[in-house]
Subunit: 112 residues, 2 copies
């Protein structure tokens, strides 16, 4: 349990999770939406994956990250809480807009 809370105890990681509520995303899309360095995002994603919150898959050169279904199953109350609260993050509206734009304009050439 501590590992999960450690993963959740960082604002950038919460912002990443808030984007993944709606879509799977690749690293460069997240980079584009959150304006953080690529290496930084990659490490945050590794962290979230190591804690069991995310899983990943590859398509061509892109690594996609998504919410881990096992995590949702095994942490249902926490997940309900997160789904509600992630949308209340101060940066959520803006991040969400960028995500929509990024997806609709296929900014990374990585549309699934």
């Amino acid at each position: 349990m501590v590992e999960i809370f450690k993963a959740l105890a960082e604002e950038s990681r919460l912002r990443i999770l808030s984007l993944l509520l709606e879509n799977d995303m690749c690293v460069c899309e997240i980079e584009n939406c959150l304006s953080l360095k690529q290496s930084n995002i990659s490490r945050h994603l590794s962290n979230l994956k190591a804690s069991g919150i995310l899983e990943s898959y590859k398509k061509a050169q892109w690594s996609y990250y998504k919410i881990n279904n096992n995590f949702i199953q095994e942490n249902q109350e926490l997940w309900v809480y997160l789904e509600k609260r992630l949308k209340e993050l101060p940066s959520y509206q803006e991040d969400y807009k960028k995500m929509k734009k990024c997806k609709s304009e296929n900014i990374c050439n990585c549309l699934i």
Copy 2:
């Protein structure tokens, strides 16, 4: 939300919360149950209080800490999750036994 997760991202603090599921406790009782230094416990308690998870009150020379009812109200799903998972901490059974012993023997002379 980050502040709450930061407070929860530390094992000693989770152990403290697990003890407080059943009773309010004073600092020296917690010290007795968890075998941590008094200053250390005092700081963890301050941290949990600052994040809104605990509240405190004084009786004579003792400071009692308890789960903050507002926190429970405002974070219901998270609280349900915590109530379940705190009891699954590896140290829980042992900590719980010590808490029971501490309360029944009135080790700090601080029984309410």
